[in-house]
Symmetry: C2
Subunit: 145 residues, 2 copies
């Protein structure tokens, strides 16, 4: 497993251990993690801190030039909100753990020129499948359903 996807998975597992939704993300600039995070809906009552948003938040304020040389890793295909954040900041590449338990806005990302690398990770799929089966109401809340 790529070290950065592994770091995103570790974040997802941390979220699960906290009683949260197991989705993790890291923002990587020139080969170094500058922000890591995981979904905080349960932990802080946040409707905006999805994994990717939490990684961006924890990276703090960055100039546009940093985002434009960064890659964001996420264990799950990014939803409309996280996709919008990626587009706002011009992050050119997204590495995704899986998109079978949830298909995000990959088509929109591609249409705007963002490169997508799909890992298709069994670890990520199993983690999400187990979570969605265990807590379907919480999961639906997280995706606005």
């Amino acid at each position: 497993m790529d070290e950065f996807m592994q770091a995103a998975i570790d974040e997802a597992k941390r979220g699960l251990a906290e009683g949260g939704i197991p989705i993790g993300s890291v923002l990587v600039h020139k080969g170094k993690i500058i922000g890591r995070g995981h979904n905080r809906r349960v932990q802080t009552g946040s409707p905006t801190l999805h994994g990717e948003m939490d990684a961006l938040e924890n990276a703090g304020r960055q100039p546009a030039s940093v985002y434009r040389q960064s890659v964001i890793y996420t264990t799950l295909s990014p939803c409309a909100m996280c996709t919008g954040a990626i587009l706002l900041y011009g992050i050119p590449k997204v590495v995704i753990g899986e998109n079978q338990s949830f298909m995000g806005e990959e088509a929109l990302l591609k249409s705007k020129g963002v490169e997508i690398e799909m890992i298709n990770s069994d670890v990520c799929k199993k983690m999400m499948n187990n979570f969605i089966m265990a807590k379907p109401t919480l999961w639906n809340e997280d995706i606005g359903q």
Copy 2:
């Protein structure tokens, strides 16, 4: 001025008084404000808390049914990230103060069936124009430029 747009403007002014970027927003459910917020980039070092995101955050966790009966008011045309959040949660209507100092993703919102009401407020335009002229670097950071 509509009372809810006035509340969003009041939030923007609060942000300005704190030394921040003057963009405010309120989330209104069945005629009642359930979340209000303003851009927090300067105040908390946040790259994710735009005005709309802060209003959503302060509304806390809500079921999908609440979002789908809500209207979000924002002093400025929503960027890609805030647009994505609106789409994620299925908020059916956005009332916008102005889009002359910044044109957000209104076309995407419309293409997804979101109703847009444009106030074209001189108060909002003047507030943003003054801010952008005074702090162009900070403004560019906020829109990923």
